[in-house]
Symmetry: C2
């Protein structure tokens, strides 16, 4: 492979336009007009020469250059570069919702872009201290119960799978009644791991409160400022605004999944060799459920007319 340079050469290229907007107030009037034009038409700016930009905005070339310098850049091309990178980076501002008359390609693009956007947002806003605290508690927990209802139940199930694989005593109960009963049987040293997109699902919140009453630590992955968040000892905030009105929570699902990945991975490393050893054991125990690579071809009797999918 090649030299992989600093992922972000100077500053974060993505939020460059944000930075520009923030700095707008401190610019001189003429410079501000340049800033406004750049913010309004970044796509045009990247193909403009300094002279063209100056003419379009109605200022002189040196003013444009001063504007560039005011932003902490050395040269004008640098600006074009950063603006260019800003407008490409994952769905700039328009976190577009899917419309009823979108075609398939548009749906695909919108959903993938939204997911990427949410991941970037959550990444940036993730509370490391809370995450560290959560890993801490999970690592030493006597018992971990996973809670989640509705769409969040898959997250609870996934959490149970991931943590169990690490040799951490983690359980999940299939229905709400069982979960509620289980919550009441927790105690100090135990952890209740709760998932909810809205943070306002009555059952989950009640379980969290019940668990807290017993002295267990409540870790919640949910939206901040919600009842569930308030009930939590440790809040892993995922603030992904989305259209929950009609469609099922989608993008926030993805964000929750990645947060869970982080949790499980950090925990695995925290547990060190013992955790890795467990993973290996579990993996080995599954080996005979897999088709070995070398047999793969023979064991796949190709049926006529099958195998579509790559074609047009």
């Amino acid at each position: 492979m090649s030299s992989v340079p600093s992922p972000r050469p100077h500053d974060a290229p993505d939020r460059f336009l944000e930075r520009l907007a923030a700095r707008r107030a401190h610019l001189s009037p003429s410079e501000r007009r340049v800033a406004d034009f750049v913010l309004d038409h970044p796509d045009q700016v990247i193909r403009m020469s300094i002279a063209k930009l100056a003419e379009t905005v109605g200022v002189s070339e040196p003013t444009v250059l001063r504007f560039v310098r005011a932003l902490g850049l050395q040269r004008y091309p640098e600006l074009k570069l950063l603006v260019g990178q800003s407008i490409v980076s994952g769905t700039p501002y328009v976190h577009a919702d899917v419309e009823p008359d979108d075609d398939l390609g548009t749906i695909i693009t919108k959903l993938f872009d939204s997911s990427v956007y949410v991941l970037n947002t959550v990444h940036a806003s993730l509370d490391r201290a809370a995450m560290a605290a959560a890993v801490d508690r999970l690592a030493t927990a006597r018992r971990i119960d996973c809670f989640g209802t509705g769409a969040a139940s898959v997250l609870a199930i996934e959490a149970q799978q991931k943590l169990m694989r690490l040799g951490v005593p983690t359980v999940i109960y299939a229905d709400t009644h069982l979960q509620r009963m289980a919550a009441a049987t927790l105690g100090p040293g135990d952890v209740a791991l709760c998932f909810s997109h809205t943070g306002a699902v009555l059952d989950t919140v009640k379980m969290a409160r019940k668990a807290a009453e017993t002295g267990a630590t409540v870790v919640a992955v949910t939206r901040p400022g919600t009842p569930l968040a308030a009930a939590a000892d440790i809040l892993l905030a995922v603030d992904a605004r989305e259209n929950t009105e009609v469609y099922a929570p989608m993008t926030s699902r993805v964000a929750h999944a990645v947060v869970l990945d982080v949790l499980a991975t950090a925990l695995a490393l925290r547990l060190g060799e013992s955790g890795l050893a467990r993973l290996r054991e579990v993996k080995d125990s599954l080996a005979d459920l897999r088709i070995p690579p070398e047999e793969a071809d023979e064991t796949a009797p190709r049926r006529p007319g099958r195998g579509r999918g790559t074609g047009a």
Copy 2:
């Protein structure tokens, strides 16, 4: 020469480096050297003048310019712009694996970046025709069975949830035996929706084949070139290489989830008003399980010592 993956989907700006790699073969020797340098050091190229690039590569300036034109571009700055946009998207190339001695911040960054990277890759490589065909079949299916074992089981569960919400007759069975029995009872007009990261899980593959024997349509979300992929009528290929050796499938999970989102969303729109109506009905039926926003504050009795997580 180093492979350069497509950092971003869409058509124009993003897959530029890919396009460049593809066109490399048709270039003259000197131009090819330029191409290789651009592919290997895109981050440097975006800050180089044509003269500097020519000198570094060891060719003349016009050669660089001819290289630019061979790519279908008009001017050299256009190249810098496109290269710059190509290398943005959060994750450069290094799909970095988590190392045992990474600290929490590094783990967070690596996992989020990997997820974003995978989403971009899968977005770019997603087979729309296959997706359209899948939506088609699901829309008219008499019955849909979801299959998935191990880590993929949560996806199957999620699929069942999402499709069921649309009013599409979708079922899932909890254990392998039941799933296998169910597969045998499928028939023409039915759909088997299979999930597997590796595509080599024996149980899932057997179910897919059994389902295919009955004349049902097999839709598989998995890695291409695997036994499960071969057994599928419609393959939704998700080729996310990752470290399955020790850690559970993580990034591919996220990709599968988004593919499922696309499937469900496209299906909802395809079903039109009836699908949306179903969603609303289901949503309304859940209304009393939520804590209404206005009550949120009062219903959250704040306990002393609680509410950590946002702090340092």
